[in-house]
């Protein structure tokens, strides 16, 4: 890894890793609402809006909870999220809710059918108003994150890959880093 990170979180299968160390092994079936609830409860936070989110936003929300820190800055923390399947899971749920006999499907699903909405949920939770962008990518791609980061204005940045295709294909892998790591500043590595 070329990009030196301050914090990182990875959620996959039954494991939550923070800064490379396993912090939680879940007992519920991986990729289910029950598992995401189990992870949420382990955080000991009170944020009922969590339960209204779609699976992709829940996953992004949880990962960011594990790396939140005093460095989060209202106007100068950027967010870059990527994945391959955009909002496919909730797209399918929304499509199923279009009942041919009783037209007007479920708006609660529809509002989550844009991949930047998970960024919106994180912004609301942590009061972040900095620059943010969603980029579609086939695989986890650290070089892409670096290249995008170089085009944004920020002091520090939450970036990563949040995929929720279905129960069998989900993963959150995010990092938190500061601008001077990118520019080869005093703590810089890559450049």
């Amino acid at each position: 890894m070329r990009l030196k990170t301050i914090r990182s979180c990875r959620i996959s299968n039954d494991t939550v890793e923070v800064d490379g160390k396993t912090v939680l092994k879940t007992t519920e079936t991986p990729g289910t609402s029950k598992q995401f609830k189990e992870i949420y409860l382990s955080l000991n936070i009170d944020y009922p809006k969590f339960y209204k989110m779609d699976m992709l936003s829940k996953l992004a929300f949880l990962a960011v909870e594990f790396i939140k820190n005093e460095g989060f800055s209202e106007k100068d923390t950027a967010i870059i999220m990527t994945n391959a399947n955009s909002t496919l899971d909730v797209d399918l749920k929304y499509t199923k809710s279009i009942d041919p006999d009783n037209y007007f499907p479920n708006p609660a699903f529809f509002v989550y059918t844009l991949p930047n909405v998970m960024i919106g949920e994180i912004s609301i939770r942590h009061n972040l108003k900095g620059e943010s962008v969603f980029v579609s990518t086939e695989n986890k791609d650290l070089e892409l994150l670096e290249n995008i980061a170089k085009t944004l204005e920020f002091k520090n940045c939450i970036a990563g890959f949040i995929e929720y295709e279905n129960e069998n294909n989900f993963e959150a892998d995010i990092i938190f880093f500061e601008r001077n790591y990118l520019n080869g500043g005093e703590n810089g590595t890559a450049y």
Partner: protein, 350 residues
Amino acid sequence: MKKAFIIADNIFSPLGKTSCEVFENMAHGKSSVKLVENGEICRVPAYLSVFDEKFENKFESICINSIHGAVSESGIDPKDSQTLFILSTTKGNIGVPLNKTAEIIAEKFGFINNPLVISNACISGVVAITIAERLIKKGGYRNIVVTGADILTDFIVSGFQSLKAIGSTVCRPFDVARNGINLGECAATVILSSDAKSGVEVTGGAFNGDANHISGPSRTAEGLYLSISRTMNGFNGLPSFISAHGTATSFNDEMESIGFDRADLNDVPLNSLKPYFGHTLGAAGIAEIIISAHSIQKGIALKTPGYENHGVTRNITVLKENMRAELTSCLKTASGFGGCNASVLLVKNK
């Protein structure tokens, strides 16, 4: 320092197949928004701007048409290693990964670099142009082809209908009688280049969140105000005109009026282009930047059709008639779901 000039552009829409054709139609007050009763696109009739003609692989087809128009005009070589292709879309082909669709389009032209695919709701186009401008200035690319596109499907139209956001007439941004959006399909392409020396330059932009609500605009226009402030920082004076988002929903237009008021832009002539060709989602920012750039070149800021009686709480200057004037700059803004906002500044450089 390198500059990012618009060297070619294309709008491929139901209102016209080139930017010039679309601009001319707008200047004559024509609109492609009409009542659509096509069950494949909307089971409940709605005012939309849709293509009458049938396309095989519609999304890819309209993108390819638009890119072809702009690339032939520019004379750039898509196969050059310093050329990048950026695609801006909200939904692309639902069920197909957006990056796969972008690759199919990129292959047609032989772009060497992997396409960059940006999906940021209704601000996607403005974000894509701003990122392209920054990439050009950093010197990694000489030419960037930025295409924004979306097509209308039952999925998208029913979603906006379920939110009760669709208007019952051709939309009337900022008017007291406005009652919702007209959706539209479109592909629009801008080619930014560091090679040009004159024309319309993209000088900078910003994009900021409200941190307020995922589907409702901020009551204080927080993100829009922050974005405009950062975009205008360092610019001397006021822009000649503003191309607003102006979707004609009650909440959006009100929020924008608050944002422009907070930024002291009350007296700057302003338009929304949505009544001409609808809200074209991932194409909107790009198509509206193109029309604004043509406005600068031709010295005509377009009116906002349907705006008769001021319907927002803040005092802003919405154009009721086309305005002929020396135009040297334009502030383009956009806002979208997720509580995101973006703005970008276009400046005439002789």
